[in-house]
């Protein structure tokens, strides 16, 4: 039974250059209708109540309006029970103190802020609608209200950046005393304006070598500042790992609510329709289901689990998938151990430090049995 719920609010006032998520401008839709439809979908879903984690993502959830969102969230928690970890994603441009206070009152206990950068030029380039000062103000307000678990997203390898600007960015993030940092290398997602600009050759892409140095800098600096890297792109103060996201990497079940949301329920991967109107109209909102066969499950468990720095516990893996990882991926494991890209310590198989920047080349070996 799923113990985690993801709720997708597919609205955002403006689309950032790099954004590949499903989101639409809220002004063009009856947002309340959609929220109602999502409640309906949740009602028809089965999960273990109370859920352990609840994650409200987007889009920008606040873009439907603070009153509407808070009302919606109360409805949701009536159905899910009080989650142990309750995260809401926010865009600094869309929130104020009153709103944040309301979130706190309805028991949201983790705020995830899509900061992306503390550098003004980069924020402009990325299409973000706020200043670094606004970000810092938002963080300060959250703390004042009483939030003790604040996460921020940062993007590196933005065109025009260098090791120094990135170092400054990291320092500023650390000085704001947050508990969790996700640091992503800028991804040129397909069908984004960013990809188009890149293909036109109009921007200077950060080269592979610098990208790697920036990544390694993040690992080093955040480590110095007491953040533990627990996943390829995620860093947390002890005890502040994102439990909701761990669900994904441990390949546990979760429910996805809302247009374009994905779920993994009782061996089925689900994907909802990525059309807001059709989603609202649909009688059965649970989208397309794909059965995950045992071998496929074993592959997914390996690929996802190896993204965690602690890696995969061999015994747990066998219990979860029914397969011996050394039988399923014998050649791949041997090869990568030999290349010092994988390591085996105390019954755990994990990526080595040097494998992290090239994790996909290792993980792809686990995408199918040998």
């Amino acid at each position: 039974m799923a113990k985690s719920v993801y709720v997708h609010i597919p609205f955002c006032k403006s689309k950032c250059l790099y954004c590949g998520f499903f989101s639409k401008p809220p002004a063009q839709f009856d947002t309340q209708k959609l929220l109602n439809a999502e409640i309906e979908e949740l009602k028809n879903s089965s999960f273990a109540k109370p859920v352990k984690t609840l994650y409200i993502g987007g889009g920008s959830p606040a873009s439907v309006g603070s009153v509407a969102l808070c009302g919606f969230l109360s409805e949701i928690t009536k159905l899910t029970g009080q989650p142990e970890e309750f995260t809401v994603e926010i865009n600094p441009a869309d929130v104020n103190e009153l709103f944040l206070r309301k979130l706190f009152e309805i028991s949201v206990n983790r705020i995830s802020i899509g900061v992306q950068s503390f550098n003004e030029d980069e924020l402009v380039f990325l299409g973000r609608r706020y200043t670094p000062a606004q970000v810092e103000q938002t963080i300060k307000t959250c703390k004042k209200i009483g939030f003790q678990n604040i996460s921020i997203d940062l993007i590196f390898a933005v065109p025009g950046s260098n090791l120094n600007t990135w170092h400054q960015d990291l320092l500023r993030a650390v000085r704001n005393d947050v508990q969790h940092i996700s640091a992503y290398s800028l991804t040129y997602e397909t069908n984004t304006p960013l990809e188009k600009i890149k293909s036109l050759g109009k921007i200077k892409i950060v080269n592979e070598e610098l990208d790697r140095l920036m990544y390694e800098r993040a690992i080093w600096l955040l480590g110095q500042e007491g953040f533990q890297q627990y996943e390829i792109s995620n860093f947390a103060k002890p005890g502040f790992e994102c439990r909701h996201n761990l669900t994904y990497w441990q390949n546990d079940f979760y429910i996805g609510i809302g247009p374009a949301a994905c779920g993994y329920i009782e061996g089925l991967r689900t994907e909802n329709i990525n059309d807001i109107e059709k989603y609202i109209e649909q009688e059965d909102k649970a989208g397309e289901k794909t059965e995950i066969m045992p071998v496929e499950k074993a592959c997914q468990t390996a690929v996802l689990g190896l993204r965690l720095i602690r890696g995969i516990d061999i015994t747990e893996y066998k219990q979860k998938t029914g397969f011996d990882i050394f039988e399923l991926f014998k050649n791949s494991i041997d090869k990568n151990l030999k290349l010092n890209l994988l390591q085996l310590n105390e019954n755990r198989l994990s990526l080595t430090q040097q494998a992290l920047p090239m994790a996909d080349s290792v993980l792809s070996d686990f995408a199918e049995p040998d």
């Binding site: 794909t290 080349s361 993980l363």
Partner: protein, 598 residues
């Protein structure tokens, strides 16, 4: 049919000079096929032949023709036009008494025209020279007539001027066939002797033998013996090609047709063999029989989505229809299990490769073609090897000999300079230059077969704007200063990439090959040194830089399915690559040694 009223003949021509059109025109004019059935190039039945305008497998067709109240039986025996099939051509010609030599009025005499014409003369055929396409605006019948006179010693006034396409001059040509060509020479030997000049495999009836009867009569129910292989069979059916197979009661002296005798494998029948009766055998077979010799070799390995067993059954199927190529299991440390294949020549190899992929829907990885080398060992033994990896230790080699051919090139004279340059690069020695007309030249070279075995023809076509034609003939083996270049990838020698080259070219070939490999092999998680070596001495080196970053930054619940797909593709890609140590080498890397372009 009275033997005097039979005419057995073939048409010889260069590619595209109109052989098939002429054959079709003859079929139409003699009423063998109706206008309705008339379709272009009836005689060529394979796709590839039609596309390339060449005839690979010979066919035969019987036509009835009446002149001055006399009925004639005309047997047109089609011949493969390319010199790779030299032996088959010679067997087909042996079945004839005459040959129509077709030369395109817009193109003139070409290398293959000459090669086949000489062969016809050797076989004692009466040659009727024909200048085709005279109705085209660019036709230069007089000039071409002079070329024929100059190169073949046939008076230009004896040439027939025709257009096979529009039917001009065909009546006169048919007349000439019955008046100028002799009928079959009567053979008073009472024993049955029939020459097998071709064969093909039919899924339902087994092997169909194409035969020309020299003496005696073939009848259904006869117990026959192949004199070369000593196998015996019972004739179940026989007849003529009209052009479809039509059963007849018998095949008498001078006649041409087919014999079916429940023969299962094409390899049981050898072209050039003589059929006789078990009960009353002929004393001696017809002359000229020999086993076809393979000169060009290449390894074929299963490619993407193809299994070894699939490849094997595809080869088995192909060999049903072509007994002149061979395939043996081969195991390469680099490429796994595959086959070493021998071919008559370059074109033959290309045809087999194309048929393999087209008719069987499989993909193959083909290694660079090599030729057969002769080695005199220090033990004074002479051995032949057809693959660089079979070469003995350098210390065991007393002398390494390579096959040498006589290469004839006919080109417009302004191509001489460029051809000389190409020839020089390929170690060819000019023997003579002959003006066959005011504007065109025949150049004769002594050339190492290895140097022309791949892409030489393409290059020749390129530098002559498509006008030059070539043909070659094996002269023998000769000692040469040859070395084996070994390629090391990440310090491991890769047998499938080694090649034998002349010492003078070794360094530049090695360097070029490494540059190609550097492009063909993807970056890995570590740097990969590439080296070319001769006998342990490094002659060139390159390296493939390691990639520095390859990681998906975000992977959350909504990304799993999509990301797994991408990773799966990557893994499939890796699986298709060949592992040499910890380096994964894509198939195209193995192809890069085929490519000598810059």
């Amino acid at each position: 049919m009275n033997i005097e009223n039979i005419r057995n003949f073939c048409i010889i021509a260069h590619i595209d000079h109109g052989k098939s059109t002429l054959a079709d025109r003859l079929l139409l004019m003699t009423g063998t096929v109706s206008q309705r059935e008339f379709k272009e190039q009836m005689l060529d039945s394979m796709d590839i032949e039609r596309e390339r305008g060449i005839t690979v497998k010979a066919s035969a067709v019987t036509m009835n023709y009446s002149r001055d109240g006399k009925d004639y039986m005309l047997n047109l025996i089609d011949t493969p036009g390319h010199v790779d099939f030299h032996y088959e051509v010679s067997r087909s010609m042996t079945a004839c008494e005459g040959a129509i030599l077709v030369v395109d009025a817009t193109q003139g005499v070409e290398a293959q025209t000459l090669a086949n014409a000489y062969l016809a003369v050797d076989c004692g055929l009466e040659i009727i020279p024909v200048i085709n396409k005279i109705d085209l605006p660019a036709a230069q019948a007089d000039v071409v007539g002079e070329e024929i006179e100059h190169t073949l010693g046939i008076n230009k006034n004896e040439c027939f001027h025709i257009s096979a396409k529009s039917g001009i001059g065909i009546d006169e040509l048919l007349d000439a066939i019955v008046t100028l060509m002799p009928g079959p020479k009567p053979d008073n030997d009472p024993h049955l002797k029939a020459l097998i000049f071709d064969s093909h495999f039919d899924d339902y009836r087994g092997v169909i033998c194409y035969v020309r009867v020299f003496s005696g009569t073939l009848l259904p129910g006869q117990k026959i013996k192949m004199m070369g292989s000593a196998r015996t069979y019972l004739i179940s059916d026989l007849g003529k090609f009209t052009p479809s197979m039509k059963r007849t009661d018998s095949l008498g002296p001078g006649e041409v047709g087919y014999v079916i005798a429940s023969i299962r494998n094409l390899s049981d029948v050898t072209i050039g063999d003589t059929i006789t009766l078990v009960s009353d055998p002929a004393e001696k077979p017809l002359p000229g029989y020999k086993k076809p010799q393979q000169m060009v070799f290449s390894d074929f390995y299963p490619g993407n989505n193809t299994e070894y067993t699939q490849l094997r059954s595809a080869f088995e199927k192909l060999s049903l229809n072509d007994a002149s190529f061979s395939f043996f299991p081969q195991n390469s440390p680099a490429l796994g299990f595959g086959f070493r294949c021998g071919f008559l020549g370059m074109l033959h190899m290309e045809i087999i490769q194309e048929r393999l992929e087209r008719e069987n829907d499989i993909e193959v990885v083909q290694t660079a073609p090599t030729v057969t080398y002769e080695i005199l060992t220090t033990d004074n033994e002479v051995i032949r090897v057809d693959s660089p990896s079979q070469l003995p230790e350098p210390t065991k080699i007393e002398e390494l000999r390579e096959p040498i051919v006589k290469l004839e090139i006919i080109t417009p004279k302004d191509g001489i300079g460029a051809i000389m340059q190409l020839a020089e690069q390929r170690r060819c020695v000019l023997l003579k230059t002959d003006y066959i007309s005011v504007t065109r030249v025949m150049m004769v070279f002594r050339a190492p077969l290895a140097e022309i075995v791949y892409d030489f023809y393409d290059q020749l076509k390129g530098i002559s704007k498509g006008y030059a034609t070539m043909d070659y003939e094996l002269l023998g083996f000769e000692a040469a200063d040859l070395v084996r270049i070994e390629i090391l990838i990440n310090k491991d020698a890769v047998d499938a990439l080694s090649l034998i080259v002349h010492r003078s070219n070794a360094e530049s070939r090695g360097r070029k090959l490494l540059l190609k490999l550097r492009k063909a092999i993807p970056r890995h998680q570590f740097e990969i040194p590439l080296q070319a070596a001769i006998g342990g001495k490094i002659i060139a080196r390159e390296s493939i830089k390691a990639f520095r970053k390859d990681v998906t930054a975000k992977l959350y619940g909504g990304d799993v399915t999509r990301k797994m797909k991408v990773l799966k593709k990557q893994k499939e890609g890796k699986k298709r690559m060949k592992n040499i140590g910890s380096v994964q080498i894509p198939q195209k890397a193995f192809m890069s040694i085929l490519d000598t372009s810059e």
